[in-house]
Amino acid sequence: MAIKAILVINKSGGLVYHRNFSNEESLSSNDYLIIASTLHGAFAIASQLTPRAVQLGEASNAVDYTIPYIPYVGFPRSNANQNEKSRFSSNNVSITTSLGSFKGDDYFKEPFQSWNKSGIRQLCTDQFTMFIYQTMTGLKFIAISTQIPANVNNSDYPIISIQVADNLLRKIYCVYSDYVMKDPFYSMEMPIKSELFDQRVRQMVSNIA
């Protein structure tokens, strides 16, 4: 799953972070702002479209919003062993392997519930696929991939990739909570300037080859 862009949108639909990973023509900042607010609106409309029947009664109990934990999404392939070693060999975990204040070799290790129940979680077009992870506080973490299901009959493909995306985006949320929220200079709801955040996001995305 090659990811072309990561966006973070605040609860009012304002773009607070975007990073383009493709070498091809890049959108202007203004384009990204428009994408963000359009997406925010489309998300709300989609939520209205979700048939009430799904939200009410027995049907809603039947829907499982659990996202499985996929180990080491966003880590280098050989990560598991390496991290263990570096943790025990010295207290000075280098920045590249450090998970900030998250102890252990992965940000989390258990399946989790999606907070996004009736909004858009995945959007497929002929040109791109988009994944949206929304937090309880209303932040949206978005991954855009230009990879599209090559074979629609292969139903495994989209399912796995949305799970990978949810795992990745929750991790980006973890990094956000660690590097952006603990910076007293960060102005809430405003664009993220933290280089550390940017660095970690880029690292994680580049590891998803």
Partner: protein, 197 residues
């Protein structure tokens, strides 16, 4: 309490989640260091405000609020807990997860209001005020750990729960127990992120 019997399974898993994160996923510092740093802050405020303890209380509260609105993201990213359906489950999350993860204590939940919109947390231990003794003039007026009220207020507000949070009693003031009250004013329905329903 009635709540723990009504949903033992959920309460149990919350307890487990809180303990797991505290034990295995949290960087820790000596509680004494935390206590004495907070102590230095409170004592500085008492000096600055010339022992006008009402102002000290307010200052601690608003300091807490500014922490709470940020800390909530850390809590949610770490736990990914689903939204609480009511204050009963909110109380469980606050006590068994939030207090456990950040301060390694699990306050008792008690004194539910009739409408189940307000409850108390009894802090048997309190790492903010371990070994603290208040001078006589502060005993009646200072809510030493008032920062906690601000943190909770700020954090709950960010998950669209407009709550009042305040101390009813404190062992530091000679009360038999330390009781913190949380009362839900209203759920900020308009602010709940679309897509959650």
């Amino acid at each position: 309490m009635s709540n723990s019997s009504s949903m033992p399974a959920q309460a149990k898993s919350l307890k487990h989640a809180g303990e797991d994160i505290w034990k295995n996923r949290t960087e820790k510092v000596n509680a004494e260091l935390f206590t004495l740093t907070y102590g230095a802050i409170v004592s500085q405020l008492c000096t600055d405000y010339e022992r006008n303890f009402q102002k000290v209380n307010e200052q601690l509260y608003s300091m807490g609020y500014n922490i709470g609105v940020r800390l909530i993201e850390d809590f949610l990213a770490r736990t990914a807990l689903p939204r609480c359906e009511n204050m009963v489950s909110t109380s469980e999350v606050v006590s068994k997860c939030a207090f456990k993860i950040f301060l390694n204590i699990t306050p008792q939940i008690t004194n539910w209001s009739h409408e189940k919109d307000a409850f108390s947390l009894i802090l048997v231990e309190n790492p903010l005020s371990d070994f603290v003794e208040l001078p006589m003039d502060a005993m009646k007026q200072l809510w030493y750990s008032n920062i906690l009220c601000g943190v909770l207020r700020g954090a709950l507000e960010m998950v669209q729960l407009d709550c009042d949070v305040w101390f009813i009693s404190d062992v530091l003031r000679g009360d038999p127990q330390t009781e913190l009250r949380i009362k839900l004013n209203k759920v900020l329905k308009d602010e709940i992120p679309i897509g959650e329903d």
